[in-house]
C-alpha cells in the first residue's frame, strides 16, 4: 500500500427524493428526501482494500455507486486520480469507466442469460473499442478467464451463464470487471450469495488479482468476518454516515462505536461453547427519510445518554415495546389512556400528551412511572429533561439533541458522544441541572 491517494471523497451527499402524493405535486410541494449518503469524507489510497461495512439501508451500496457515477451526487466532491469526477459528461465518464469497475452481489443476475461467457466477458472490449476483430477478443477473453481460474478457458467460453455454478459465475463476473485493466474495483457483497465452501476461494482469487494487477478495492459488505481477512481499513456505516473508520486491527481488537461492537458480537461463531448473544441492539435500521434526532443510532444504542437525541418517537417505541409484553387488558387500558400514539410520530423534543378515555394527566404520569420502574436501566430516561402536569395534560421535554462529530480516538476516528469530551461534559452538566422527572 502506498501513500498515494487514488480516490478522495469530500462532503459527499447522495439524496434520493421521494415523490410526494398527487396533491403535493399539484400544489408544488416537494417530497422528502432519503439521505442515503449524508456528508461523507474519506480517502482511498492506491493499493489498499477499504471495507465499507453496514446493514442494509446504511447507504454503503449508494456510496459505492456514487463513487462510480452510477448514481448522481447531490453535493460534495469525488476526486479520482486528482480529478473531480462528480460532474463529468457522459462521454468523459465512459473513458473513466475503463479505470473503475464494479462486481455486484448476485452473480446470477449480473450476467445476461442470452450471452455466452465469451461474449459477456469480451463485451467491455467492444464497448470501449479496444480489441479489434473476433479473434483478438477471444484471445484476450481466454487469457482473463484462465487468470480467474476458469481453466481450461475453451471449456467455458461458449457456455451460457445457466450452465455455470454460482462460484463460476462470480469468477466470470470478476473476469469481465478486470479485462479492461482497471485501477479501482468496487466489490459489492461479492461472496454473500455464495455457499460457505466457495466464499474463501473467491476471496483468495480477489486478493491474488489485487497483487497481480495492482488493484485498489472498495469492498462493500455487511459481514465483518469476511472483511477481517480482506481489508486494510474498515469504515462502518450507519444510516448514511461513517460512524467509525480505521485500520482493520484496531476495529477488530478495540471496536469503539457501540454499533461496531454490536456488529461484531452478532456474528455467529462455529463454537458451541458460545450461545446466541442476549445483549443485542433492538430494532432495525430506521427510515433514512426520517432519521432519528441527534445520533441516528441512539434508539438502538445500549449506551446512549443525555445528549444523544432522545425525542417523541422514542417514547412511542418505548410504549409499544411495553405493550408487546402486556396482556390484552393491560394494553387496552393503557392505550385508551394515552390515545393515538401516531401523534408521537412527529419528531420533537417537546410533547403534550392529553389523557383520553376518562383518564387524567396524573394517570399518564403513573403509567410512565410504571414503565420506568419495569426497566430503570433503559437509556431513554437519561434523555428526559422534565415531565410536568399541565391542565390535565402531561408535558414531556427531552434534552436538546447534539449531532455527534467524527473525531480521532486512538488509531481510529469515531462518531459517538462517548468519545467526545465536550459531549460528556455537556451531559454531566445536564445531569446536574436536570429537574428530576
Amino acid at each position: 500500500m502506498s501513500d498515494e491517494v487514488l480516490v478522495s471523497v469530500r462532503g459527499l451527499k447522495t439524496y434520493y427524493s421521494i415523490r410526494g402524493s398527487f396533491l403535493d405535486r399539484l400544489v408544488g410541494r416537494t417530497g422528502a428526501a432519503v439521505r442515503a449518503v449524508d456528508d461523507i469524507s474519506l480517502e482511498l489510497r492506491k493499493g489498499e482494500v477499504l471495507g465499507l461495512v453496514g446493514e442494509s439501508g446504511s447507504g454503503k451500496t449508494t456510496l459505492g455507486r456514487t463513487l462510480l457515477g452510477l448514481v448522481p451526487a447531490t453535493e460534495g466532491s469525488v476526486e479520482f486520480e486528482g480529478r473531480e469526477i462528480t460532474r463529468l459528461s457522459e462521454h468523459d465518464r465512459r473513458e473513466l469507466r475503463r479505470r473503475m469497475q464494479i462486481v455486484f452481489q448476485d452473480p446470477h443476475a449480473s450476467l445476461n442469460p442470452a450471452m455466452t461467457i465469451a461474449q459477456a466477458v469480451g463485451h467491455p472490449l467492444e464497448i470501449h473499442g479496444i480489441a479489434s476483430g473476433r479473434e483478438e477478443v477471444r484471445a484476450r477473453v481466454a487469457d482473463v478467464l484462465e487468470r480467474v481460474g476458469l481453466v481450461p478457458a475453451e471449456q467455458f467460453m461458449d457456455k451460457y451463464p445457466s450452465d455455470l455454478s454460482g462460484g463460476q459465475k462470480q469468477r466470470a463476473v470478476i473476469a469481465r470487471a478486470i479485462i479492461l485493466n482497471p485501477v479501482l474495483l468496487v466489490a459489492d457483497e461479492p461472496v454473500s450469495m455464495l455457499d460457505m465452501s466457495v466464499r474463501a476461494k473467491i476471496l483468495e482469487l480477489m486478493l491474488a488479482l489485487k497483487a497481480d494487477f495492482d488493484l485498489t478495492y472498495l469492498y462493500i459488505t455487511h459481514d465483518l468476518a469476511t472483511a477481517k481477512f480482506f481489508c486494510d481499513r474498515i469504515a462502518i456505516m450507519y444510516l448514511g454516515r461513517i460512524v467509525e473508520i480505521g485500520p482493520s486491527e484496531s476495529i477488530y481488537e478495540d471496536p469503539k462505536h457501540p454499533y461496531t461492537q454490536a456488529l461484531l458480537r452478532a456474528i455467529p461463531e462455529p463454537d458451541p461453547r458460545r450461545t446466541v448473544p442476549r445483549d443485542l441492539p433492538r430494532g432495525e435500521v430506521p427510515d433514512a427519510s426520517r432519521p432519528p434526532l441527534g445520533c441516528s443510532f441512539h434508539p438502538r444504542c445500549p449506551r446512549a445518554f443525555e445528549v444523544c437525541g432522545w425525542e417523541s418517537r422514542d417514547l412511542k417505541e418505548l410504549l409499544e415495546r411495553r405493550w408487546a409484553g402486556l396482556d390484552e387488558e393491560g394494553f387496552e387500558a393503557e392505550r385508551a389512556a394515552v390515545g393515538p400514539v401516531e401523534a408521537l410520530d412527529v419528531p420533537s423534543t417537546h410533547v403534550r400528551l392529553s389523557a383520553h378515555g376518562g383518564a387524567r394527566g396524573s394517570d399518564l404520569r403513573s403509567l410512565l412511572d410504571k414503565a420506568r420502574a419495569a426497566d430503570p436501566e433503559e437509556p431513554f430516561w437519561t434523555g428526559v429533561r422534565r415531565i410536568a402536569d399541565a391542565n390535565g395534560e402531561l408535558e414531556i421535554d427531552w434534552h436538546d439533541p447534539i449531532a455527534p462529530r467524527l473525531l480521532p480516538s486512538g488509531t481510529v476516528e469515531v462518531e459517538c458522544h462517548l468519545y467526545d469530551e465536550e459531549s460528556l461534559a455537556e451531559a454531566m452538566e445536564r445531569r446536574r441541572s436536570g429537574i428530576p422527572g
Partner: protein, 340 residues
C-alpha cells in the same frame, strides 16, 4: 425425552429428463420434543428436500419411501387430506424470504384470522385476537401494529410475524428453512435468539436448516450433516463441533469464515449431481483422507460414541474393509471447472 419425530430410512426421489434424482437417500434421524436439530450442508445436498419431505410438501411427481413417524404416526403413508389437517396445528414451516410470504393485500390481523379460522374454527373473535396478540407480543411485535399491512414492516419484523403465524397454532414440530438468510447480521441474531427461546416458551421441536455452521453451533442441541442426499454425521452439536468425525464435517467447519478464522480454507470441487452420484462414499472425490476402500464400497454407519453416528470408512467397521483398503488413495486434482 421421547422423539416427536422419528425418520426411518427415508428416500425421496423425483424424475427428470436426465434420470431420477435421489435427493434424499436412506436418511434416518430423530428429534426430541422441545429440542433443536440443525441440518447443515452445502447447497444441493438435499437439505431443503428433506425438510419439505418430512412435512409431505414435495413437488408433483416426487416419490417417497420409508417412514416419517410423527408422534408414532407414519406421515409417508398418510393421505394428502390427513396430512393437511396436521400441517399447521402439529407441523409448522418457516421459509426463507419473509418479504414474499405474507399477502400484501391482507392486514396482519387477517393473516391470523385466516390461519386460526382454518384450523380452529370454534374460536371466537375475541379468542383469535387474544391468541394472536399474545404470540406476536412474544415475538416483540406490539399490539398497536396488529391492523397494519405487511409493507409497513421491516424484513426482520416480517420474519417475526411469519414465526408468530406458525407458532400461534402451537405446533409440536417446526421446520425452519434458512430462516435468516436474507436478513442482516444483527437482525439474524435477534431471530436466532427467538428460535433458541422456542423450547422455553413453546416447547416446540425445531428442525433448523442452514448452510451456516455458526448458526447451528449457537442455537442447536444436535446437528446432522448432510452430503449428497445422506446424513454423513449426526450427534450432539457440542461434540460434533469440538471433534468432527467425518472429513466433510471437518472441512465444512474449516471453511466457515468467522472472526476466529485464522486462514482461509475451502473444499475443492462441488457436491455431485444426485442422478449418478460417485460410487462408494459420495464424498470420496473431494475427501482429503480418501482411502482405497472409499470408492469401492458404500460406507456403513458406525457409532464411535453411543450418542453419535458417522458414515465414513475411517471409523470402520474394520471387518468390512478388504485387505489393503485403508491405503491412502492418490487424489486427482480437482479443477475449478468442478467448483460449486
Amino acid at each position: 425425552m421421547s422423539a416427536v419425530l422419528d425418520v426411518r430410512h427415508l428416500r425421496l426421489w423425483y424424475g427428470t429428463a436426465r434420470g431420477s434424482v435421489r435427493a434424499v437417500d436412506d436418511v434416518s434421524l430423530e428429534i426430541d420434543a422441545g429440542s433443536t436439530l440443525g441440518l447443515v450442508g452445502e447447497s444441493g445436498c438435499g437439505k431443503t428436500t428433506l425438510g419439505r419431505g418430512i412435512l409431505g410438501l414435495l413437488p408433483e411427481g416426487a416419490r417417497a419411501d420409508g417412514e416419517v413417524l410423527y408422534k408414532g404416526r407414519n406421515l409417508v403413508a398418510m393421505s394428502p387430506r390427513e396430512l393437511r389437517r396436521l400441517r399447521g396445528p402439529e407441523l409448522g414451516l418457516i421459509f426463507q424470504e419473509p418479504m414474499t410470504r405474507l399477502n400484501p393485500l391482507l392486514r396482519i390481523e387477517d393473516h391470523f384470522r385466516e390461519t386460526l379460522g382454518q384450523h380452529e374454527p370454534k374460536l371466537t373473535d375475541a379468542d383469535v385476537r387474544r391468541r394472536s396478540l399474545d404470540t406476536l407480543g412474544r415475538m416483540g411485535i406490539p399490539p398497536t401494529r396488529y391492523r397494519q399491512y405487511p409493507h409497513e414492516f421491516s424484513g426482520g419484523m416480517r420474519q417475526r410475524i411469519m414465526i408468530a403465524l406458525a407458532l400461534v397454532l402451537h405446533p409440536s414440530l417446526l421446520v425452519a428453512d434458512e430462516p435468516t438468510t436474507s436478513l442482516d447480521v444483527i437482525v439474524e441474531a435477534q431471530i436466532l435468539r427467538i428460535l433458541a427461546d422456542l423450547r422455553e416458551n413453546f416447547d416446540t421441536a425445531l428442525l433448523l436448516i442452514t448452510h451456516n455452521l455458526g448458526i447451528v453451533a449457537e442455537s442447536c442441541d444436535r446437528v446432522a450433516v448432510m452430503y449428497a442426499g445422506q446424513i454423513v454425521e449426526e450427534g450432539p452439536a457440542r461434540d460434533v463441533f469440538a471433534e468432527p468425525k467425518h472429513p466433510y464435517t471437518r472441512e465444512l467447519l474449516r471453511s466457515t469464515i468467522s472472526l476466529d478464522t485464522e486462514e482461509l480454507h475451502s473444499i475443492p470441487g462441488a457436491p455431485p449431481n444426485l442422478i449418478s452420484p460417485p460410487s462408494g462414499c459420495r464424498f470420496h472425490p473431494r475427501c482429503p483422507d480418501v482411502m482405497r476402500v472409499c470408492p469401492a464400497r458404500d460406507p456403513i454407519e458406525t457409532r464411535p460414541d453411543p450418542d453419535r453416528r458417522v458414515l465414513c470408512w475411517l471409523h470402520g467397521p474394520e471387518d468390512d474393509i478388504p485387505p489393503g483398503g485403508t491405503v491412502p488413495l492418490e487424489r486427482e486434482e480437482i479443477a475449478v471447472a468442478e467448483e460449486a
